[in-house]
């Protein structure tokens, strides 16, 4: 069983479209995250949620809207996609607040053309 799973794995879309990436964890963790990895492999946190409550919003454009329907799911919706949004997006989870050990999904490679 995959601990943190993301869908889709690859996403190619045109500028201006709206898209969503889904994430689910079966580890029973309370905290979930979205990280963005750019073309130079630099990883930066975007959001964290604890028990469905937004904890961190790291100066991400408001075109990005995370949604947590329950503590096992954290989806990322992106409006009006731009070329600069092309990146690999990683979902992660940890047992409690305080990133003492985060488990990462396989990533979603988003390409905006």
């Amino acid at each position: 069983d995959t601990a943190v799973s993301q869908t889709p794995k690859y996403l190619v879309t045109q500028m201006g479209n709206d898209k969503s990436i889904k994430c689910e964890q079966n580890l029973g963790h309370d905290t979930m995250y979205w990280y963005k990895q750019d073309s130079k492999k630099f990883l930066k946190i975007m959001f964290s949620y604890n028990n469905k409550e937004l904890i961190i919003n790291e100066t991400v454009p408001n075109r990005f809207s995370p949604k947590s329907p329950d503590k096992a799911h954290l989806n990322l919706h992106i409006n009006s996609l731009e070329l600069g949004d092309s990146a690999v997006y990683f979902c992660a989870s940890s047992q409690r607040q305080g990133a003492t050990e985060a488990f990462f999904g396989q990533g979603t490679r988003l390409t905006v053309v």
């Binding site: 943190v4 905290t31 995250y33 990280y35 130079k40 492999k41 630099f42 990883l43 930066k44 946190i45 964290s48 604890n50 904890i55 961190i56 790291e58 990683f90 992660a92 940890s94 607040q97 305080g98 990133a99 003492t100 050990e101 985060a102 488990f103 990462f104 999904g105 396989q106 990533g107």
Partner: protein, 113 residues
């Protein structure tokens, strides 16, 4: 604010040779320290972590790291590398009582036969 510096963007090494990947950090508050590995087209996997206690930390796949508070370093070592260790390695810190991981820019370890 916190920052993580990985001094080497690439480290080429021959199989069975020892390796050290360097990591320095800057933080005005106490942090937890981590090393993650990313194999091609995969998510991040935790290698090891320092939370407290002994400054020498052993992780998976024969890796170890030593926390040096005075030098604010957390270098990763392995006495004898394998071809399968070829991957991207990320050092990260997490300030106490926060949810985020702050990553370095990564070091590409390339092991040659």
């Amino acid at each position: 604010a916190q920052s993580v510096t990985q001094l080497d963007s690439q480290v080429p090494v021959f199989e069975e040779a020892p390796v050290e990947l360097r990591c320095n950090y800057s933080s005005s508050v106490s942090v937890y320290l981590f090393w993650y590995v990313q194999y091609p087209n995969q998510g991040l996997q935790l290698l090891l972590k320092y939370l407290s206690g002994s400054t020498l930390v052993k992780g998976i796949n024969g890796f170890e790291a030593e926390f040096n508070k005075s030098q604010t370093s957390f270098h990763l070592r392995k006495p004898s590398v394998h071809i399968s260790d070829t991957a991207e390695y990320f050092c990260a810190v997490s300030p106490h009582n926060t949810d985020k991981l702050i990553f370095g820019t990564g070091t590409r370890l390339q092991v040659f036969p």
